[in-house]
């Protein structure tokens, strides 16, 4: 019996494609954001409210992933920005190859912002790099406030936590401060924005975050890129 060292990541092929996408996004100055949440936390609603607030000249596009149906793409197409549905046909997450294929005939030079809505799932999407500049996790207050402790991987890997549906706080047993504390325990540097897609609360902060994050992509500074890595 001989032992052969392998010493590489399991998802080497996905990571290779993701690295190619990341290089393309960087070359074109595109901020790409990978939105991840459990089903029903409000990813599509957040995107609707986001597109609604953008002017017609905004250079934004959306990829939206679902196991079945193009309902989300149809919901999002109303604002006239390029939207493409990725139907995974069973897979519980998007992978880098799906994103690469979906973007194949798009002119990336015409974009500043690419919003990728992952399949609704708090676990699996956390393992797949899509070449994004940042993962954003959306958690609604209709879920449990201990989700960050139960699903630490995605909270650890996300730069921003969007706490959505805060208009429902009076009706649900969700401790906002505790949820934030749990998220920071898993990822001390995580940023947190509270939003409601129904009342519009917090959406300005979300748009400001996107704007500031885009500025980092266009003029990356060493300090900022270091601050991004939770290990540094």
């Amino acid at each position: 019996m001989t032992r052969v060292a392998m010493e590489r990541k399991v998802l080497t092929e996905n990571d290779r494609i993701a690295a190619g996408l990341r290089a393309q996004f960087a070359r074109h100055g595109i901020l790409s954001v990978n939105l991840i949440s459990s089903p029903g936390a409000g990813k599509t609603s957040l995107l609707e409210r986001t597109l609604e607030r953008f002017g017609a000249g905004e250079r934004v596009a959306v990829l939206t992933g679902d196991i079945q149906t193009d309902n989300d793409a149809r919901r999002l197409a109303r604002w006239g920005f390029p939207v493409r549905q990725i139907t995974t046909g069973g897979a519980c997450h998007l992978d880098a190859r799906m994103v690469e294929q979906a973007l194949a005939d798009w002119d990336l030079a015409s974009l500043d912002l690419l919003l990728i809505e992952n399949v609704g799932n708090l676990v699996c999407p956390s393992s797949y790099d899509l070449g994004e500049a940042a993962k954003v996790v959306v958690l609604s207050v209709a879920e449990g406030d201990d989700k960050p402790l139960k699903y630490p991987a995605i909270f650890f890997k996300s730069e921003l936590l969007v706490l959505n549906k805060v208009d429902l706080l009076p009706y649900v047993n969700f401790d906002l401060a505790l949820a934030c504390e749990y998220a920071r325990r898993v990822h001390p540097q995580i940023e947190i924005i509270e939003t409601s897609c129904t009342t519009g609360a917090g959406l300005d902060k979300w748009l400001e975050w996107l704007k500031a994050r885009r500025a980092m992509v266009v003029a990356p500074s060493i300090i900022l890129s270091e601050a991004k890595d939770p290990r540094s």
Partner: protein
């Protein structure tokens, strides 16, 4: 339940590596899975077994080495395992620490037998 596609990626890697060892049979592959990798070891083992059954690689064993989340204290420099997401250093109490391991999903080694 993305463990099935992870298992598939492991088998692809095994086949690739096996090509470098003609005439040998792979008997085992070992992976390291950090607790923040978002992988359920039992589901991975289940998917792996299902994929191997009846394939060219049968029989092939999978060894999963779970890696706990470990941090290094910025104050005293000691390393410690993080449990229940508590990040304070157990030695000096400092809250300032950085992660040194825990999100790995890596192929460690495989065992081959000459035939």
């Amino acid at each position: 339940m993305h463990e099935l596609s992870i298992a598939n990626a492991i088998l692809d890697a095994v086949r690739q590596e096996a090509e470098k060892h003609p005439g040998a049979r792979v008997t085992k592959v070992a992976v390291r899975v950090g607790e923040l990798a978002g992988i359920d070891p039992e589901a991975l083992d289940f998917g792996f077994t299902a994929l191997v059954k009846g394939s060219d690689l049968e029989p092939l064993a999978l060894e999963i080495e779970p890696l706990p989340r470990r941090h290094r204290c910025r104050q005293c420099g000691g390393t410690f395992a993080v449990s229940d997401a508590r990040l304070a250093c157990p030695e000096c109490g400092s809250a300032e620490s950085v992660m040194v391991s825990g999100d790995e999903m890596e192929l460690a080694y495989m065992e081959v037998e000459e035939t």
